[in-house]
């Protein structure tokens, strides 16, 4: 114990023997850790944004379909409206919102132009907490019920069609008998989505109105369910799957949107690579400091060995010096990263690069996301790799021959 205590005392005092050098190395560690964690928070925020927008763009966390719907997403593969058992499961704890929709490909014709879209029949009250459409209304009104005969379009689609709120358009699609089903709708509202391509893709009408137009009774194409956290949908998915039984297919969002789920995996890998890259840069400063610290006290190390200190304690002393440096640097760097991310919780406005952001499927506002697990990962990686980096100078020190070291100039 005595040997360890004196080793710790020497490690601490030796660290402050050359305060300028220690402070510079500390600054390198702090900036490295801060950069590491801040960039991870930004990247996490970007992926969170992509996932959030992706999930808000209709999929929800879990979806229920006719088993054939994914292979043939047409009006012929429908589901009955949820029965009591399923409705009870969907109203259970863990489900934040759910919405049954009818979804068909359609063509919208204005007096000037025509466009292909996905026409979605919704229950406005159920849809509002689940997807973007109610939140992103920019003009006119949102739908008021399942029997609402108004039509909601995206801003870009309205521009392409050369129409506006209050004007009529014709919507044409196919019914289950492969006959043309068409109807005139008045545009009652326009939405502006985070990602502009969404505005061209989706048009919304009351679900009952669309069911009547298609003659499908109360059948629906999909039921979208929203849970509490997109990263924790497994239990929700299992519960719904059990309640649905064999008559329908239940899929979590990561099965529905492979691109988004792969982004999440890529991000986790990127976080680790980023930590290691920053650490490599940081470790040069650390190792350089420790080597200098060892070389300038060769005589002292020899003396301590001559007086009977074991080489293992010398080795430990150098590693402790490294750990103290890293520990202080990590603490300050973590606090600094937290202090930098806190004021940005409202999001960073990136509208000046909105085209680029849209290409990545991200909205104009990027909200950095600082997670405890990322901070812990960065801390553990830096500490563990720090020990490895300091092993070289530490082993050098512990291998000195006392006589040669004492007589060194």
């Amino acid at each position: 114990m005595g040997e360890i205590a004196i080793g710790l005392r020497l490690a601490w005092r030796n660290l402050w023997r050359n305060p300028r050098r220690t402070v510079i190395t500390l600054a390198v560690v702090v900036v490295g850790v801060w950069g590491m964690i801040f960039m991870i928070a930004v990247m996490r925020g970007m992926v969170d944004g992509m996932l959030f927008d992706g999930i808000r763009s209709l999929p929800g966390h879990v979806q229920i379909h006719n088993p054939s719907f994914r292979d043939d997403p047409t009006i012929n593969n429908l589901l009955p409206t949820p029965n009591n058992n399923l409705a009870a499961a969907l109203n259970d704890l863990g489900v934040v919102a759910w919405s049954a929709r009818v979804r068909v490909p359609a063509v919208i014709m204005s007096e000037r132009n025509s466009r292909g879209v996905t026409l979605i029949g919704i229950d406005p009250a159920a849809e509002a907490p689940l997807s973007f459409v109610a939140d992103d209304m920019a003009e006119g009104r949102f739908l008021e019920g399942v029997e609402d005969v108004g039509l909601i379009l995206g801003r870009r689609l309205v521009d392409r069609l050369g129409t506006e709120v209050g004007k009529r358009v014709v919507v044409m699609t196919q019914d289950p008998d492969n006959e043309i089903a068409d109807r005139g709708f008045r545009i009652v509202g326009v939405y502006e989505a985070q990602v502009a391509s969404t505005e061209e893709s989706y048009a919304f009408v009351g679900r009952g109105t669309l069911q009547s137009m298609l003659g499908i009774g109360d059948q629906v194409s999909e039921i979208a369910v929203l849970g509490a956290d997109y990263r924790d949908v497994e239990a929700l998915y299992q519960r719904i799957d059990a309640a649905v039984g064999d008559g329908a297919e239940v899929l979590p969002w990561y099965e529905l949107n492979r691109y988004l789920s792969s982004m999440l995996g890529v991000m986790d890998g990127f976080v680790l690579v980023w930590i290691v890259v920053i650490f490599l840069a940081l470790s040069f400063g650390l190792v350089n400091t420790l080597i200098m610290a060892v070389f300038e006290r060769v005589r002292e190390i020899g003396l301590m060995m001559a007086l009977g200190m074991k080489p293992a304690i010398i080795l430990g002393q150098i590693i402790v010096e490294s750990l103290i440096l890293l520990g202080i640097g990590l603490l300050i760097g973590d606090i600094l990263a937290w202090a930098t991310v806190q004021p940005l919780r409202g999001g960073i406005d990136l509208s000046v690069v909105s085209d680029g952001m849209e290409m990545m499927g991200v909205g104009n506002v990027l909200t950095p996301s600082l997670r405890a697990s990322d901070v812990v990962l960065a801390t553990v990686v830096v500490l563990v790799l720090g020990i490895f980096a300091s092993l070289f100078p530490a082993v050098c020190a512990s291998r000195y021959h006392p006589v040669e070291a004492i007589t060194k100039d």
Binding site: M1, G2, E3, A5, I6, R9, L10, R13, N14, R17, R299, E300, L303, M304, M305, A306, L307, G308, M309, K310, P311, I313, P402, V403, I406
Partner: protein
């Protein structure tokens, strides 16, 4: 009873492509409580002999026994243990740890030995007073004179009552007055505490204090004068 015994010790150094003889079949016995001076011209082998007796340097052949125990065949860790518990060192260039105070330098060996803090403090206070450094316990080496630093080094060497104190040119960097004080301290240690002292020196004044004077040349013992026996 011998404090240290060397039997036919040989040590050869490599200098470039040449072999340089450090010790050439040295056999020597120093009794417990002895006060021995080793003298030789530079390169005569006295420092090498001290290092070998202190377990700091390896032999090429022969045997070294400290307090009856053979040390030339021990591992690095075992040698460190022997140095810690049996041997006190005083080096020519003070060799204190600069980030520790005088008291902490003196307590260093005891702390590594695991002596409790209160006991360490009591003994370091006593020994620093004994070497004339009362009141300077909390000074760091940089704030002390050469003589004061060497006295701290002596205090560190003797504070844990080692069987032998090995001193290599302990007065080389001291003025004559400080050197005399240091030698009087050594004499007192030898006479009152029974500490075995082996000092390598060029200094005639130091030799005057020794009970036994050994002259070395080219790694061999060439003269051994025991004043007490005569």
């Amino acid at each position: 009873m011998y404090a240290v015994r060397c039997v036919n010790v040989r040590k050869i150094y490599k200098q470039g492509d040449e072999d340089v003889i450090g010790l050439d079949g040295v056999s020597l016995e120093v009794e417990k409580g002895g006060f021995v001076c080793l003298r030789s011209p530079s390169g005569g082998g006295k420092t090498t002999l001290l290092n070998v007796m202190g377990g700091l340097d390896r032999l090429d052949s022969g045997e070294v026994l400290v307090a009856g125990k053979r040390i030339d065949n021990l591992s690095k860790g075992q040698l460190a243990h022997i140095r810690l518990h049996q041997i006190g060192f005083v080096f020519q260039a003070y060799n204190l740890i600069p980030v520790l105070t005088a008291r902490e330098n003196v307590e260093f060996v005891m702390q590594v030995q695991g002596v409790p803090a209160a006991e360490r403090r009591r003994r370091s206070t006593e020994i620093l007073a004994e070497v004339g450094l009362a009141g300077l316990e909390d000074r760091r080496p940089a704030k002390m004179s050469g003589g004061q630093q060497q006295r701290v080094a002596v205090a560190r060497a003797i504070v844990s009552n080692p069987a032998i104190v090995l001193a290599d040119e302990p007065t080389a960097n001291l003025d004559s007055r400080t050197a005399s004080h240091l030698m009087e301290l050594f004499v007192e240690l030898n006479e009152h505490h029974g500490t075995t002292l082996i000092i390598a020196t060029h200094d005639q004044m130091v030799m005057g204090y020794a009970k036994r004077l050994i002259r070395m040349l080219d790694g061999k013992l060439v003269e051994d004068i025991d004043h007490e026996a005569s």
